[in-house]
Subunit: 491 residues, 2 copies
């Protein structure tokens, strides 16, 4: 008899551009966030957790003359007409909170926050529409001591999560110095040419010194063979920019001297250099040497956005990329000083500085170096079920193991096929299986199977060795916990 | 001169029904979630973190014949026509994951998950549109050993977060027993009368035995004076339901005997009682006595939804409500066995059981009992700024304190007004302020102000005591860390 067709079944699919995190991926991130929070807390920063949802007007992406908000955010209209949206970063909610609670919050307000943000962008390989951000900001302090504090905290954080000294570098630059350079070139505050120069500087990371020189002057053939028009400066005009970008020297004092030459008589330039000098002295007073934090004018990321100090944390070790080539791991955090955080809401400018750590990149780095992935990934001890009627005994065994701090569980699938139970233990990466059939129960013993050793023997052992079954031992029931403990400790 | 009016400023407001969490509220929740995760992990459960966003069809709230999805979820349409939505609980995403990854996940699959969920409901006092859920479920085990495991884990969890034995009770019931009772009453599987009886039973918590008896028969005047129609059973017909609800006795054995009488010859009823009996034996074998987990047929929450064992964790101590009246704190977690988790997607029924902990209620309970709120709420030591030019020295002091594990920071606001610095320290709940002006610097000393003692003296002390300034001491600069340590340790 043909059955009437029911309604179409829903597809079981993660939405496009989103992903699920299983097991150790969750645990390792949560441990890293805990370690970061510990450092931030010790520096006097307070946690803040805003909701994932903000009004679109608070986020500031809504254009009043279009029906739907701009691309880039996930937004929807409520029945009362209001538009709501998922936050796309942690800075916009901080601005809202700093304005909304300005009479209640301490000033300066140091806060940290960690959680997912959402971007309504075309997903790509490794690019997801939900990802973690972990930010620390100081709102309401105009002093570069606040910037220096964050740079020091960033160095401490990297060491706390497992990046040893020598494997990272916090690099510091200052937008005001660049402004001074531009001023000496006669490029005015809001001119179009100035914007073009800023955009070009942003390519320094990829194009390098020679490339930026070409781009600032006559133009350049890029890697794909396309010709990129130049900004049209003369070679002489471009020189101060190049001098700025390449002014890093062996010591902070020399770098600062090079910068003083690059900004000539510009007042804003001199102010920027004074700020860098002050930061250098604050770092030195706390014992952060140039092996951890250094003044480096080649830091250009975000230089167009920030208004004063700009900083970036880079991992300096090499990893193999997907094609097996060695490359530097690169940036894992960045930040700087920005104005107008709260001004959108209140009309009053409030100085602020902050940093954002790319948690997922940092995790990837630690995994690439094999510095995480041990304990968290180990599965539970599995108590197998030889006799369905003796379930209570098996549960008591698992409970004893847990009370001794050992991760343990009873096999809860259909126990009929014992092979399935061992396959399950294998899939769980269980280190040990416990077996007690009727004979063992009558004799007051249990079998303990060392699955790690067993797997090695299965691969390597001779027939003789295999037959002797060194991976399986029988112990009195009363010694269960101690015997498992011995195997887990590798004794 | 009148200024031209700019565009209207955005409002700095948390969206209606959402809230921000500051400071210790964030830390305490995160510590609780960490403690819960530890217990779940020890029981062999694996973390899972799905994205906040699901396709609306996977959530199963989309009605194909309406333009917009049903109320209750936050949903929006993508440019490609797909509807996306924020998850409203953790069970729907688990169902999607269990179906999508059914060939890769171990079976049974034990997973836990913790995070926010969103409900598009009218907000009210204490009712928010984003809140935390913390769930543990076992998918793919038909054995009530899985239910017993979760009940034991729930008891362990409550103790791990700070609810001592005696202050909580995990109560267990079984839907099949109720089905047996209804069968003896001649109420068929899908009849309307049966649904009415189920709905009435759900009111047992509030209406009590006499109330439910009235509601099952002729009807009842409720507290507001309105008359609620009865289901229309005769007093005799209603009796098995009442017998079921009130069958709890001093021991599990007696309770089970009472239930056997209530279900008469019903096969499904007998099966439910066997399941309860098995669970009781599993609990006993692990040492969970009736002071922690008990069979209690008066547990009715979710009895209409679940298909087998149902459980609820209740805090048994009294608190004062907003009107100062004593009342039981009540339920903080609930769960049970449910079918068809994955069936919507695959057509195959997969048995599952799970529990959801109300994290925010549990936090409220611990706060009401004064069991959390100590260390996490303490502010940092504040190094004040007497001399703007000696910022590097102040930062070095804060750094030394932090390196000794002490939470510390330099005051980063405008240092001109010293009173503002102490007000700031007060707002931060700082235990200690450090002061070093030019004289102290020249003499190689620092002033250490015990702000906790200072606040007490300001309240209680005589003029004499106050003048002697016992809350402020001068120590050699080299003894800074040790002196602060002494105050923090209360020595």
């Amino acid at each position: 008899m043909a059955k009437a067709k029911g309604p179409r079944r829903p597809r079981a699919e993660t939405p496009k551009g989103f992903r699920d995190y299983f097991g150790a991926d969750v645990t390792e991130r949560s441990e890293m966030l805990g370690a970061i929070a510990g450092v931030y807390h010790r520096h006097g920063f307070e946690p803040l957790e805003t909701s994932a949802v903000e009004t679109l007007e608070a986020l500031g992406k809504y254009l009043p003359d279009v029906d739907r908000p701009h691309a880039g955010v996930f937004a929807w209209q409520e029945e009362d007409g209001d538009w709501l949206a998922l936050r796309y970063d942690m800075t916009a909610p901080l601005a809202r909170v700093a304005a909304q609670f300005r009479n209640d919050l301490p000033s300066p307000y140091r806060r940290y926050t960690m959680g997912p943000v959402w971007r309504n962008e075309k997903p790509g390989p490794g690019r997801f529409r939900q990802f973690y951000q972990c930010d620390a900001d100081t709102v309401g302090s105009a002093s570069v001591a606040a910037d220096a504090e964050i740079c020091g905290m960033l160095a401490d954080t990297l060491e706390a999560v497992g990046i040893p000294r020598g494997d990272y570098l916090v690099r510091v630059n200052n937008r005001k110095v660049l402004n001074g350079v531009l001023e000496t070139m006669g490029l005015t505050e809001e001119g179009e040419r100035r914007e073009e120069v800023l955009r070009t500087i942003d390519k320094f990371d990829k194009a390098g010194e020679a490339g930026v020189r070409e781009l600032l002057t006559t133009g350049r053939l890029d890697a794909s063979g396309a010709f990129i028009d130049g900004v049209g400066l003369s070679a002489d005009q471009a020189e101060p920019v190049i001098a700025f970008l390449t002014s890093r020297a062996a010591t902070a004092a020399e770098t600062l001297a090079n910068l003083r030459a690059a900004v000539g008589g510009s007042e804003i330039g001199a102010q920027g250099i004074d700020e860098l000098e002050a930061m250098a002295s604050f770092m030195a007073a706390q014992g952060y040497g140039a092996d951890r934090i250094e003044i480096d004018p080649s830091v250009v990321r975000g230089l167009g956005y920030y208004t004063g100090p700009v900083f970036e944390a880079e991992l300096t070790f090499e990893i193999l990329d997907e094609k097996g080539r060695k490359r530097q791991f690169g940036s894992v955090a960045g930040g700087g000083r920005y104005d107008d955080l709260v001004k959108r809401f209140t009309g009053q400018a409030v100085p602020a500085t902050g940093v954002s750590i790319g948690v997922d990149r940092l995790l990837a780095a630690l995994r690439a170096k094999g510095r995480i992935g041990g304990e968290a990934a180990r599965g539970p001890v599995v108590v197998t079920v030889m006799d369905r009627d003796r379930m209570a005994d098996y549960m008591a065994m698992a409970n004893e193991l847990r009370n001794a701090g050992i991760r343990a569980e009873v096999y809860l699938g259909n126990p009929k096929n014992f092979g399935n139970q061992l396959k399950y233990a294998d899939k769980r990466a269980s280190p040990v299986a416990i077996i007690q059939g009727a004979d063992e129960a009558a004799g007051g013993v249990v079998q303990i199977k060392d699955l790690v050793l067993g797997a090695r023997i299965a691969q390597e052992a001779s027939l003789e060795e295999w037959k002797s079954q060194p991976a399986q031992t029988e112990v009195p029931r009363a010694d269960l916990v101690a015997a498992v403990q011995r195997i887990l400790n590798g004794a």
